[in-house]
Symmetry: C2
Subunit: 253 residues, 2 copies
């Protein structure tokens, strides 16, 4: 199995670097600009590095199970995590997605209210809750950054509240495509779906079939093209934006 071999190799490299000259790995960390360690100076970064532990998740692996006791937090170095809750009868709703720089795991909470699953192979920088609390007491700038990140997550959640509460299927899918396209939306731009149809459905509060139909509808009306399952081309960005409706200033992600 090629993939697994690759992952193990990456893990070992990470582990070796982890034990090397402290802080050097942090300085080169691609996720640092957006992570809770962003505002730390070199000395503080050295200390912070001491309490961190590198961890690798393979695509599909679960970091935290809904209902588990949680006593740690982690920054995402690379990859992507999905936070999702499920009802006893199997309905699932994605509560959030986290990319590089994202922070998962809340202090003060005893039991996880949602599953945390890797949507792609993911590297984490993990901390124990106690270590993180102690560090934050000495370095309030971590709290400051964490507060900013939490507020940002709250914004995103509120944006989706509006979607799930009041938007039609067409509006939800159009908004999702704009989200996927990101800030550099342009005519004939070629973008990829970071999620499967099923995951898009769990995010939008719809079914796979409805997602598929809405994409088909957008394709038939010439707003987008679907050259492959995992890619889309935005032929008419203005039309897509108009379909998304719901307030002009709703760029999240």
């Amino acid at each position: 199995m090629y993939l697994e071999g690759e992952i193990v190799a990456r893990h070992e490299v990470a582990f070796r670097l982890d034990r090397s000259e402290s802080g050097s790995r942090c300085a080169a960390c691609p996720a640092r600009a957006g992570a809770i360690c962003a505002k730390l100076d070199d000395a503080a970064l050295h200390d912070f590095h001491q309490i961190s532990r590198h961890k690798v998740l393979r695509k599909g692996q679960t970091l935290i199970w809904q209902g588990d006791a949680v006593s740690s937090g982690a920054t995402i170095v690379s990859g992507m995590l999905k936070l999702s809750a499920a009802t006893p009868d199997g309905r699932e709703q994605i509560l959030g997605l986290l990319g590089p720089g994202g922070f998962v795991g809340d202090r003060n909470r005893k039991r996880a209210r949602y599953d945390v699953v890797a949507l792609a192979d993911t590297e984490l920088c993990q901390f124990s809750g106690a270590d993180l609390s102690a560090f934050a007491r000495q370095h309030p700038e971590v709290l400051d950054t964490l507060l900013d990140k939490t507020i940002h997550e709250l914004d995103r959640a509120q944006h989706w509240l509006m979607m799930l509460g009041r938007a039609s299927a067409a509006e939800r899918v159009a908004t999702l495509l704009l989200d996927f396209a990101g800030p550099d939306l342009r005519a004939d731009g070629d973008y990829s779906f970071p999620l499967s149809r099923g995951q898009m459905a769990d995010l939008c509060g719809l079914t796979i079939e409805t997602i598929s139909r809405q994409l088909g509808s957008l394709k038939r009306s010439g707003v987008i093209q679907l050259p492959q399952r995992s890619r889309f081309i935005v032929s008419d960005p203005d039309a897509l934006t108009a379909l998304a409706g719901l307030s002009p200033a709703t760029a999240s992600h």
Copy 2:
């Protein structure tokens, strides 16, 4: 108008106290235990009091309009605020409710993404964004408390994401009633609706008619009684809890 007279009187009392021996009012503040000033000691509380301004909103008044520039924050002393967003064509979704101790207004944000409206006569303790930032730099415990509160809001928002994305009308209404009843749910307990049917609809992502029908259905099946429009009695708490479904451990509010 009786109500208005009462409000003006309260406002003037507040104003006089505001100018009196500093900190004394804060010490007696009923909202303090849950507010961002909860962890401040007496000296810090004195300083904090200096940058605060008392403000009173009448029921129905708007504190912040969606799209407005915001440069201040406020703690709710008494009353209740609604955070809601509306689409250009008039659909509204409530994004959150804040009671005493709640904090409204986000640092770093240039424009409000939602309206903030008083659902009842409301007293606020208001701060300029600059003052609050400066104070927080010197008293990181404010950041700490604010982070806790923001995480709590995020939890609530995620709980509602699940509701709006995956719950039926019956489940949403049952959950709402449990929310209203609070932690002391008991058989034949008598509770009041803090929201109108329309506000409940805006919170649940439903219409007024659907809310009314679901309440009627619960009444007909003997789970609740509706002696007045603004009150309900929970005859069968277990049935109500079962109807709310969606994970046993979802007490918010």
